[in-house]
Symmetry: C2
Subunit: 290 residues, 2 copies
């Protein structure tokens, strides 16, 4: 079993000992409720690093008022079993007070085009919470490599930006989205779905694939690609789209015509679950099935 | 002479080599135009650390529109001589593009009581620029200890807060203000003063001492302590006070009665120079003369 700790000082001891032994440090930041998507990150970290640290922390600062902070799925015993299966060395599962003691008042925030569209306007303050907690985790663990899923595409781009801008001495390693057999992206929030909703949710990836297919057929007009995806998704009455946007894959600026890799990204409500997904079109295909 | 470099990668090589040799790393962040105040920081770093890195960077993000970014004094050859005298190992003097390459868009910001008063309302965005550059410098150098002057008291408290909140694995070391024989706090901006202004500027510290003296005589009412200081400073027609405030020495909240250590702090224009100074009252006296 991995060593499990709630304290910053104990994580640091473990990392310092591994460093002295010349080992590379890998960090997989998570909010727990680990699924195959997370395991994919952890396995890659295990392959690449001498010490693998998984953080499990349902970070309150990235939840917007009215969101699912209280009911977000928590399963530490199950998470530890999954970490053990992958051979994780250290699980850092702090209480909120360890990460944000009284008086804490520092924010890390990425501005500009990365936070203009997609989830940002619908979850004001969310990405500020993400970068704020990741900066802390990077300083606590001091990893050489930190692993993030492409499922949370905007988050990935924002964290890459933050790590580069603040000169964190580490590499951000993106890991392809892991999907269910019917294409639904793995997500801790999938447990919110009833069996009927679960079937409806498959329309999200079907829609994204329809957008991909339009591009493959030669369509370069962004509105047409989005329309092709939207048509498929809106045919499913159990899904309520929040947004469906085609944006530059690096800057996340809105695009009118696809001339460079672009990300077709969405958020949708299926029942009470808010789900996100994306595909990159016009680039190397890095999606895989779990 | 110290090794002088403009690149992050070269600083990191120097630091990595020193780390391998088991040396402690000290960082003295400066904007150059080094004076006895800076030298006092550097000497302490030299005493305490195996490798002393001084950064010299006139950080554009901490200057507010209309301030003295363009005319801020710059003297790299003189600075290097002073670094050499103290035995500094590495001088990191990057161009703005090294610190903020195109696309850079991440800010580090302390919120709350520390940025409610004193310089904050008069220099909107200033402290955000300070924390943003210091977070970068901490990640570039990775020091064990970083040295800051008490002359910039609010900056010191904000950086202490930022470093603690973001869990930077380093100690912030405060260094007492160094003063001219007539009490004027050493500042790179003192070079803006004409000889007449230079004489007038001594009223600032005389005023602060009058506030200290009122406290020493038993006065605990903040307004009375401020009044005692203000009376002395306003008797000098060459000085235009921007603010003169008595605040809690740790939280920087306004105080009405002095029951714990408090900082009597001011900013004032003398000619075209904006100068700041402070004394801590009700605490251990750590001021010294240069």
């Amino acid at each position: 079993m991995p060593l499990v700790t709630k304290t910053i000082s104990e994580v640091r001891e473990q990392v310092a000992a591994a460093r002295r032994a010349g080992r590379t440090i890998g960090l997989v930041p998570t909010m727990g409720a680990l699924h195959e998507g997370h395991l994919s990150l952890m396995r890659r970290a295990r392959e690449e690093c001498g010490l693998v640290v998984v953080s499990i922390f349902v970070n309150p600062t990235q939840f917007v008022a009215g969101e699912d902070l209280e009911r977000y799925p928590r399963d530490l015993p199950g998470d530890l079993r999954r970490c053990d299966e992958v051979g994780v060395d250290v699980v850092f599962a702090p209480e909120a007070e360890e990460m944000y003691p009284p008086g804490d008042s520092t924010w890390v925030e990425v501005t500009g085009t990365l936070v203009e569209g997609m989830c940002a306007p619908h979850r004001p303050g969310h990405f500020r919470g993400v970068t704020t907690v990741c900066a802390r985790l990077f300083n606590i663990v001091g990893p050489d490599r930190a692993y993030f899923g492409e499922k949370d595409y905007q988050q990935l781009k924002i964290i890459e930006r933050m790590a580069a801008d603040l000169k964190f001495p580490l590499a951000i390693v993106p890991i392809p989205t892991v999907r269910e057999p019917d294409g639904l992206a793995m997500s801790s929030r999938n447990v919110y779905l009833s069996s009927e909703e679960r079937k409806a949710a498959a329309a999200l990836h079907r829609g994204l694939r329809a957008g991909e297919e339009a591009f493959a057929q030669g369509e370069r007009n962004a509105a047409e690609i989005v329309r092709a995806a939207r048509r498929v998704i809106e045919a499913e009455p159990g899904v309520r789209l929040q947004y469906l946007e085609l944006r530059d894959a690096e800057t996340l600026e809105a695009v009118e015509r696809v001339a460079r890799p672009a990300v077709l990204a969405l958020a949708a409500f299926v029942g009470r679950a808010r789900l996100i997904d994306n595909v990159v079109i016009g680039g190397a295909d890095r999606q895989c099935r779990g």
